[in-house]
């Protein structure tokens, strides 16, 4: 009896070991969509006031996007100005159309004519930054580098190489809740600044609740309004990060079918068959949808930011 029990324990341990050795879809997906861990940062930096300032992959992507946008936009505008052409052409034409569209179709209807030029730069910056952060997450830059590292340079996945350090975590910085929370914090303060600029500091806070109500109503309304103030940026944070994470999880889950079928049925041919007939077409379709999601999410974030700023400026109770 005890021998049988020991055999069962060994068998269970073997199965557990096998499961650990085999393909773990959840682990792969989580590693892909999450940031690189702090014990594998891209750049080690010291702790300041108990905070680890090491540069992780998402921080690096934020810097890359900021530098890319700064260089491309500045160079395009400088070149256009130096040519002294009244009508822009090429990329400058597209950029001008984008700026005008954001100003006229998002900011102007919400903020109004008086303050449109005050708030367009902020909204435009948010739009371009989120758009490029979203879009760069669809480009498998580091995955291609990883393939070159494995199959051309012949390095193993445990090798201490720079490329291997890039392969920890995904590249979509806007799929990180900390990034979207930081962006939403900018919106939060922009709402307060907009209301203060339009009505003055005291009147802005008074405008939170309608005037002329019985005082017991204010006991209910003021806490609700204060909570509403924090709910708006929270909704922005969750919406953007969840949408950007969701698409990647969907694509990776579908692609995981190849390895799951291969493992469960112990047949590479079946795995490949499922890959070519089901996983690949579905992944391509969802990737195409993701291209739309990338633009829509940037648009929705800026639209909601404009609406919230407009609500602080154009108060109607």
């Amino acid at each position: 009896m005890s021998v049988q029990h020991e055999e069962d324990v060994h068998h269970a341990a073997d199965l557990e070991h096998g499961a650990e050795e085999g393909f773990n879809a959840g682990e792969v997906i989580i590693e892909h969509v999450s940031n690189s861990p702090l014990d594998h940062p891209i750049l080690h930096l010291p702790h300041i006031a108990g905070i680890d300032f090491s540069v992780t992959k998402h921080v690096m992507m934020l810097w890359l996007v900021a530098a890319f946008l700064f260089l491309v936009v500045t160079m395009t505008i400088r070149r256009h100005l130096s040519q002294d052409k009244p009508i822009p052409s090429g990329f400058m034409n597209a950029l001008e159309w984008l700026v005008q569209s954001i100003r006229d179709s998002i900011v102007l209807p919400n903020v109004g004519t008086k303050l449109v030029n005050t708030w367009t730069p902020l909204v435009l910056t948010l739009f371009l930054f989120i758009l490029v952060c979203n879009a760069i997450g669809l480009v498998p830059i580091f995955e291609v580098l990883g393939l070159i590292d494995r199959f051309v340079l012949g390095n193993g996945h445990e090798a201490e190489s720079l490329i291997n350090s890039f392969l920890h975590g995904g590249t979509t910085a806007t799929a990180n809740y900390n990034v979207t929370a930081a962006l939403a914090t900018i919106t939060f303060f922009a709402i307060i600044v907009a209301g203060t600029m339009a009505h003055g500091f005291v009147t802005h806070w008074k405008n939170l609740v309608p005037s002329g109500l019985a005082w017991p109503i204010y006991i209910l309304l003021i806490p609700i309004e204060v909570m509403g103030m924090f709910v708006k940026p929270f909704a922005l944070t969750m919406r953007l990060a969840a949408n950007m994470t969701g698409g990647h999880i969907a694509i990776l889950s579908i692609l995981s079918l190849v390895f799951i079928f291969n493992q469960v049925f112990e047949s590479a041919a079946l795995g490949m068959g499922v890959g070519f007939t089901v996983a690949l077409p579905l992944a391509v379709g969802i990737s195409a949808l993701e291209i739309i999601v990338v633009m829509v999410q940037a648009y929705v974030f800026t639209l909601l930011t404009s609406v919230f700023i407009g609500m602080a400026i154009n108060v109607h109770h």
Binding site: D104, S105, M227, G228, V231, M238, N314
Partner: protein, 107 residues
Amino acid sequence: MWGVGPVPIVPSLDTLSCSGVPGAGTLMSDQSNHFLASSLNSLQENVRRSGPAAAAGYTLTGAILLLGGLGHLFDRWATTSHWGLVTGLLLGLVVGFYELAKTIWKA
């Protein structure tokens, strides 16, 4: 309510023909340009109008999630099983529907 009327997103499509030279396009290209311009204007107007509604919708969801989450955290901290969560969810509903009601009353 928002102070200004709709602003055309593609004003140039109304004034330019396909070739880019005014007056050089055919009647058909003018019609298709007009159709495209009016379609885009209509889309833009719909999107503009949906802004406050989208804000109210996301605020409703966000309020329930945020306050429900805070209630859950309170439950874990104070070991008050589920009372914090229920209170948070109810508060979230109140805040969310208040924001929704404000949007509807304004409209």
